[in-house]
């Protein structure tokens, strides 16, 4: 996990090789990448970064990788640090996900993704609306009908605070179905896991969570998925409607991706994006996706930036509707 130092003669040899390879027109693999994780060890971001680095190194696309946990301020600290020390961070990537958009809107930190260089998103998770297998709501239409009768009987819970990810997915769903998202009773929990407990104890009747989680639970026979925020029905869930079948603006993906420091030279940024793309062909990456229940969601550079802007607009509008700012 630490940067390895290379003895002198090998350094010289490598340098010669690099020059030769560059002269021959090939792109040399970067020696080393440093990953900043704005969260604690073992968390979602941490795992994403470490698995990515691990797969890249083992697959020969990278010589070595190092990781730094820098939690605080809901990523604010890490982002601030990366911005402040930008000139010497050309070999550093920051991992993040949807919260970078939400928290910048809600003012948790004074930065936004525009203050960084978007490299690429790598994995993603559509949102789902799910219930217990024996729930009285077996289809999304039944849920809607009950909601219109009495929202208090259709409490939706999730692992984010009010106004954040899971609440947004739930509100999006309600809106796509044609009902008023402000009537939604959203019950916030610390984590997705605790929300699942809430579902099991009956505190909430419906769960808003990520596809990966939900699929796991469904495979274990413990959950029934009613709708997905994907652009169209998923092959793994052909019976489950995509919310876009009901209304507009109902597509939402919780992505995880990497950012570089501001003013990162475009050549470097492109090279990193390419690296992440090549990573997906590696068998190690396939195994990692399998093991962690992740889904590919690759959008490089400009495409990534556009995606972020669209998501930001969607989230901002929805939050305003719900009464947040």
């Amino acid at each position: 996990m630490g940067a390895k130092s290379v003895p002198e003669c090998w350094r010289r040899l490598a340098a010669c090789l690099v020059v030769w390879a560059a002269a021959a027109g090939a792109e040399p693999a970067p020696e080393h990448l440093h990953f900043i994780v704005p969260g604690g060890a073992g968390g979602g971001w941490d795992r994403t970064a470490r698995v990515t680095g691990d797969v890249l190194v083992k697959g020969g696309l990278l010589q070595s990788a190092s990781f730094e946990n820098l939690s605080g301020g809901g990523s604010g600290k890490a982002i601030g640090y990366l911005i402040k020390t930008a000139e010497r961070q050309h070999g550093t990537l920051l991992v993040n996900s949807v919260p970078i958009i939400v928290r910048s809107i809600s003012g948790v930190f004074p930065f936004s993704f525009r203050d960084l260089t978007p490299i690429a998103s790598v994995i993603g998770d559509y949102g789902v609306i799910a219930v217990l297998p024996d729930s009285p709501y077996q289809t999304i239409d039944q849920l809607l009908a009950a909601f219109l009768r009495d929202p208090l009987q259709v409490r939706i819970g999730g692992g984010s605070v009010r106004g954040d990810l899971d609440h947004i997915v739930a509100a999006l769903a309600i809106r796509a179905l044609g009902a008023d998202p402000r009537k939604l009773i959203y019950v916030p929990y610390d984590t997705g896991g605790k929300a699942v407990v809430g579902l099991l104890t009956g505190e909430i009747q419906v769960l808003s969570t990520g596809l990966g989680e939900a699929l796991e639970q469904r495979r274990a026979g413990q959950m029934r998925i009613l709708a997905v925020t994907a652009p169209e029905r998923l092959s793994v869930l052909p019976q489950v409607p995509a919310l876009s079948e009901y209304g507009e603006n109902a597509v939402f993906a919780n992505w995880r991706g990497f950012f570089g420091p501001p003013q990162l030279p475009a050549a470097l940024a492109d090279r990193y994006a390419k690296l992440l793309q090549e990573m997906q062909a590696l068998p190690g990456w396939e195994a990692a996706l399998e093991r962690n229940g992740w889904v590919n969601f690759y959008r490089p550079r400009g495409e990534f930036a556009v995606f972020l802007e669209e998501q930001e607009a969607l989230i901002a509008a929805l939050r305003k509707e719900l009464g947040f700012y």
Binding site: N69, F324, Y325
Partner: protein, 150 residues
């Protein structure tokens, strides 16, 4: 008669008051409120509780705790130690873990009266080295080098 309870109660009363005033400035509207609760509800309840309890404390008889000899306290070394900790916090980003820790440990021991260079170094160096080894090598925890060395 002014006793510990009066002082303690007064300080906490002022604190609760300040806390309550800050709480009143918190946002409470829109989507933030739910179930009649907003981000400022609990703080306001606490502020009121704090003020009531501290008032009660101010006017209650002191407990049976043993009286401490404030006059006999060694304030100077304690204050200097606090100072050393502040120095540690100040130099840490610049000197990095290893150097800053050595400076702190030696400084703190000097403040407390140890003069022998042998003891100073024998105590400070192994502990610092030991921690650095365990943290950096064994556990793989990244300790950024001081800004001076980057």
């Amino acid at each position: 008669m002014i006793n510990k309870n009066t002082i303690g109660g007064l300080l906490l009363l002022l604190f609760s008051l300040g806390y309550g005033l800050m709480a009143l400035q918190l946002d409470s509207g829109g989507g933030l409120a739910a179930g009649g609760f907003s981000p400022r509800t609990l703080p306001l309840i606490l502020a009121v509780a704090g003020m009531v309890l501290s008032l009660l404390l101010m006017f209650s008889a002191p407990g049976p705790a043993p009286a401490e000899q404030l006059a006999n306290f060694k304030w100077r070394p304690a204050l200097l130690l606090c100072g050393m900790m502040l120095v540690y916090a100040a130099i840490f980003p610049y000197l990095g873990f290893v150097l800053a820790t050595i400076v702190f440990l030696i400084g703190a021991m000097l403040v407390l009266g140890i003069r022998s260079p042998k003891v100073l170094l024998l105590a400070a160096l192994p502990i610092t080295a030991g921690f650095w080894l365990i943290l950096n090598q064994l556990l793989g925890i990244y300790l950024a080098p001081g800004a001076l060395f980057l």
